[in-house]
Symmetry: C2
Subunit: 428 residues, 2 copies
């Protein structure tokens, strides 16, 4: 059966433009992965009449309705009552959920106000979806052939419950399995990837192959629908092989979370330690590797040398070198990497210096000019880059390049002074 779904996000703050509807994006992505067609998103405020009308419209045009938001303890949280009413269901007090909510507050050593227990009222005969990051439980039920799932609004809570509760519930509705793999790519733009793979993408029907771009990198999602997980995997194998052959070492991993995750796993496997010296990225490289639990197995630390004095006094970059070549130069990036390598006694160290903007630097280097160096005891590599004129993008992409150089070094791929990544990033 081919299900269609509608996502209804409830919250006046969305209509006021205070926040983006990121829940709808995350849920849509998950439903795509399950082969469920999402035909509409609706956003409605904390207003029971308008929510009711939105639910009635959704009932008339979707098999599955997923709501987010309005499950909390305050007086404007009305989703459960309103949706239950639309489906003629009563709310029932769940002692077990009440206990869980009490326990949540005990765990945080915070006083629980009584209104929190309102969250333990849930529609009769529903499946409770546990909230692992907050107090408001979610739920799922079937009524008159329609499936309804209610998730909390805060993105972290919504995302966790989506994957732990809603996705398994929805997977049970289908008699086939949809399996996806994510091929992660760095160093080639989305249109270049599409260009190389268009004949394959067009020819495929099941499995399918689709590209997704996010800041500075590209993912290819391979998705197959089959009776079993194993059969789906078997169907995808030749596609993945062909993509791997076509894109080669631009692929940094399959089903890995991020470039930094791929690097950390390689470092741990090879028992190598890492340090960093960051200027324009201001700590972003270090923040990203330490986002990953277990980073301490390989990451020793870094120096964020934002001011020139920090480069000379802490990292030992020669003031003459900076005077001669400038703080934003190949020479300084390499000296920073070598400085961090020695100071922090690491096996590998990166050095990143550049102009993040908004203005060019005192030497007249344009915004987006970045040098990324990688030093080992034996050799130092450097990339000279032009990363555009958006501050956030320059910083994110500069850190991407540092991770990419590490990944290439650790896998024995060509690191490239420049030759191995797309022209877009290359400094003329």
């Amino acid at each position: 059966m081919n299900f269609s779904a509608e996502i209804i996000a409830v919250g006046t703050e969305l209509l006021l433009g205070n926040i983006t509807n990121s829940d709808a994006k995350e849920i849509s992505e998950a439903l795509s992965g399950l082969g469920i067609n999402v035909y509409f998103h609706t956003v409605v405020g904390d207003n029971p009449q308008r929510l009711k009308s939105a639910v009635e419209i959704a009932k008339s045009r979707a098999d599955i309705i997923i709501t987010t938001g309005g499950l909390g303890p305050t007086f404007d949280d009305l989703t459960k009552q309103t949706v239950a009413e639309c489906f003629g269901k009563a709310l029932v007090f769940h002692e077990e959920e009440a206990d869980r909510i009490r326990g949540y507050f005990r765990g945080l050593d915070r006083q629980m106000t009584d209104n929190n227990l309102a969250q333990a009222y849930l529609p009769e005969n529903c499946t409770i979806l546990v909230n692992s990051c907050g107090t408001a439980p979610g739920c799922a039920f079937e009524s008159g052939g329609k499936h309804v799932i209610m998730l909390p609004g805060p993105p972290r809570e919504c995302g966790a419950m989506l994957h732990s509760g809603a996705v398994p519930y929805l997977r049970n509705l289908s008699d086939s399995e949809i399996v996806s793999h994510n091929i992660r790519i760095f160093g080639m733009g989305e249109s270049a990837v599409e260009d190389k793979l268009r004949p394959l993408m067009t020819a495929l029907d099941n499995p399918t192959l689709a590209p997704y771009a996010k800041t500075g990198e590209v993912s290819l999602r391979v998705t197959a629908k089959a009776k079993t997980h194993e059969e789906a995997d078997r169907m995808m194998k030749p596609v993945i092989a062909q993509v791997s052959k076509t894109l080669g070492d631009y692929i940094y991993g399959i089903d890995v979370d991020s470039l930094e995750e791929a690097v950390l796993q390689l470092l741990i496997k090879k028992k190598l330690t890492l340090a960093a010296a960051e200027s324009c990225t201001g700590g972003l490289f270090s923040k990203r590797i330490t986002d990953i639990p277990g980073a301490s197995q390989a990451f020793i630390g870094s120096v964020v040398s934002y001011a020139i004095e920090a480069k000379t006094s802490v990292l030992g970059v020669s003031p003459d070198l900076i005077t001669q070549f400038g703080a934003v130069s190949r020479e300084t990036a390499q000296a920073m990497a070598n400085g961090a390598l020695k100071l922090l006694k690491a096996d590998l160290a990166v050095g990143i210096t550049g102009v993040a903007g908004p203005g060019s630097d005192e030497k007249g280097n344009a915004v987006g000019t970045v040098f990324v160096a990688l030093a080992s005891a034996e050799k130092t590599f450097c990339r000279a880059l032009q990363l555009g004129n958006d501050r956030d993008r320059v910083r994110i992409t500069a850190a991407h390049h540092a991770f990419d150089m590490l990944r290439r070094y650790l896998t024995g791929a060509a690191i490239g002074d420049m030759e191995h990544f797309s022209a877009f990033h290359r400094l003329k």
Copy 2:
């Protein structure tokens, strides 16, 4: 007159979860500012039947319909045709727009394909909205008492046309101004803020007062509707004064972007420099202050001392002290802050050490145990915190506390060894 609006975003990529509906956020924010109530957002794919049904529903419940997306030159760009049809309007070729589109390609030195001229077909008797960042023009028209505005989908093009074309068009429809101010709070939870201000929030009608929570902090938005901007400001003044009196130095700013922004402005004003020593936050504190253009005016740099050796060899924390008290301790946090102060020759330095998780540390400190120190040449302060068991939240909130201590130091407010922030964050 009180207008209500609905925003319809058209694009299958939104329903697949490839992108977030950031256009709807930006348009909603602009409409709030104009005093126009947005009651619904709808997202629909590039499908004329479903788009038609969405427009019909919007016609029945909104005075103003704003669409985004589907104005481009390719075969799946169907918004203009479909919406015009819903309102019984023909599309008319505009020679002037065709010239502008031809000129756009000449300017880029790119070959124009003929399908681009399809974009010059616009509904009869409409106001053309010029696209300053792309080829697809937008338009606005009135029909049967309903106002329709069509904007392009790419966020940069949509945002530019929103502010240059749609907002002036809408302002002409209204005779009042809506003005908002954002009061930013750290150190008190959303429910505590609500608790203290409930009588005021309930009593108010115009202006209104509403709280919003995000990770570790709270905002209060005051909004007034009046004939003029000045009158709206005058109406909000006593409310802001009363909130300020009630919440005192928990308020870190009004209409400032973030805690780090408030800190950076204070540092620049007082001509003081800042350094940091980060362990569990792994560079996040430094990343956040360097997110802000101009951070180099005050921020010298930092040491991310993830491994113990980095604490001792780079920051000069005594190995004996670490053996005696542990790497996660008040003593180590203070020694880290003082080490960074000396090493980087700064006026102020923070030191952050803690257990971000997922597991407790070798000394048995629970996940969420964090010590944040602030050192000046004269004195060192320290907070002992318990920040919960979510790795991201622990790291974000730990950095918040470092910025809060700086903000309090720089404004002469009580920094508190512990006494000045909510019990939620306090370590027993």
